[in-house]
Amino acid sequence: MELSGAEIVVQFLKDEGVKYVFGYPGGAVLHIYDALFQQDDVRHILVRHEQGATHAADGYARATGKPGVVLVTSGPGATNAVTGIATAYMDSIPLVVLTGQVPTPFIGSDAFQEVDAVGITRPCVKHNFLVKRREDLALTLKKAFYIATSGRPGPVVVDIPKDVTDPNVRIPYEYPREVKIRSYNPVVKGHPGQIKKAVDLILGARRPMIYTGGGVILSEASAELIEFTRLLGFPITQTLMGLGAYPATDRQFVGMLGMHGTYEANMAMHECDVLIAIGARFDDRVTGKVAEFCPHARIVHVDIDPASIAKNVKVDVPIVGDVKNVLADMTKELRARKQKPDAEALRQWWARIDEWRGRNCLQYDRNSELIKPQFVIEKLYEVTGGDAYITSDVGQHQMWTAQFYKFDKPRRWINSGGLGTMGFGMPAALGVQLAHPDATVACVTGEASIQMCIQELSTAMQYMLPIKIVNLNNRYMGMVRQWQEFFYESRYSHSYLEALPDFVKLAESYGHVGLRIEKPEDVEGALREAFGMKDRLVFLDFITDQTENVYPMIAQGKGHHEMELAPYCKAPQSGERELA
């Protein structure tokens, strides 16, 4: 088959099984767009801003496990995509981003719409390529997909100069089925000796704790994690990125950990004697003060990325490997052993955890005449039967969703954890809805975040993507306001949003349905009405309590045991010591 460079790009995507490309045309990619126009296999989704393209592809990838694909032009096309690329990088999401580049003879001449895309993206990609010869196109694209999806996944940028895609020059093309990269061989099998050591440690535990992260979801290891955890009967906590890998409604799940995690999860972390960390990276929002992190624990750490191990916290038994394989191997080893976990020690440990649970740390004021944001999420959970795909933006609403929407399945909770990118939620929801056309998809957001990528409401209309937007509108950048209240003596410097748009009218002007909800008693009805409109995007603007804060909270630089609980939480029960 003889194809032009532009045709090779499109044919390759088709051969690679790519269904959707999220993009925005421009001069440097016009040849590729012309090739896209002449076929029906690869569907192009036209966004309104390149940041939206990367987030939508990212949402698609998070909801499916398949790589998200982006096509943008040179210069501003590439720079606009950077935020989305960095977002995917921090959360290890497989993306392949094709950026147009000025023709090779112009590179380095400050040509129109020229930017060093490879240089700009280098610190926030797993790898990137500049393709200077059309003969290298197919193999480079194959390498990009292979690198993006294998090992610890991540975004890969392929920068393609315009002359490389010249429609008038054709060369032979064959789909490269396989690719080997001599310098890249991710370890997938855990070392058997290390697995034995880990199992020894696990069986000797008296106050064990399982702590898992996004790696379990990336590795599709949910079933293995459930089997492992249930076999042991240990308590399990998950990071923001890990939610859903283990069912949140299960008794062994003690809630999310970290800065806004549950009291029981963080206290159990503080007092555990063996910590089994799986596909998690000991992020600062999780560990709190590192010097006081799990002071009594010996630590097993399973991760596919050797650089994640012993980066922030020293571990006793490191295991490099794919979480799915290692969990299966550990379970097998456990079943082969005669020794079982100490049942009496475990019973006492659970009794202690249940004491902490009794504090009911996610309590909030249910008698308020204002809409409490937590109440909206609880109702969202009820109305969607706990079975929706939920994306979020970044801030208080994100934390409340993580706390109050009980995710029982992996890939249902889609948010920007590492980079914390406001504007992520709505375009990500579009990608999720495309991946799962019949599923219920909602984006929980706030009036500040939503405005960062609001233009994608237009994309949603063009492709008839009936997502539901749950806007928790408190007229503040809520998390900024909360920190200013706590740490800056309530000096609310530039966190109040004046001159907000009328979101109902805004949604309507894009052709969608808008609803404003101002009273607690109207919350459930509005949600039911919105989710009943199966084929419409509905923008639900909830006017919420402006002063609500996210609790519990570990202030920055504090340890897990120094959590601050909500003022309306129950007083300590008898026999339990007061918090420091």
């Binding site: 500049l130 310098s183 012993a310």
Partner: protein, 164 residues
Amino acid sequence: MRHIISLLMENEAGALSRVAGLFSARGYNIESLTVAPTEDPSLSRMTIVTTGSEEIIEQITKQLNKLIDVVKLVDLTEGAHIERELMLIKLRAPDAERRAELKRLADIFRGRIIDVTDSTYTIELTGDGDKLDAFIGAVGEGTIIETVRTGASGIARGTRSLHL
């Protein structure tokens, strides 16, 4: 502690900036960095001299290994190794007495005079960093017009080697 990390990487455009970028992005120290192609033109060999605690050095080697272009890596400091650096140094040599003294010093340090004018000597000197520092100390700062050093290259002693 000071470490010498030696690595083989794909001889590709941008490979050097990936390494340099990694060090600046993560706040690691670079004392020196040298790079050139090997006998296999598809590979470059790089020697990085860096300092840091054991934890930092462990992270540096892991993060370097994580770069897709890095094929193989060894921390030479973990075993016996040889380290060499080349220095070219241009010195003021205005009169006979001074010229004789510099010639003598060059001989003592096993350096070679590689260029001469009526007022300067240019000397080539190879050795580890300490030896080059010692020579600079011996000639005295006022004598030096210009120095250029390559940074350290290193290789393991014995049969241990870094190859594919």
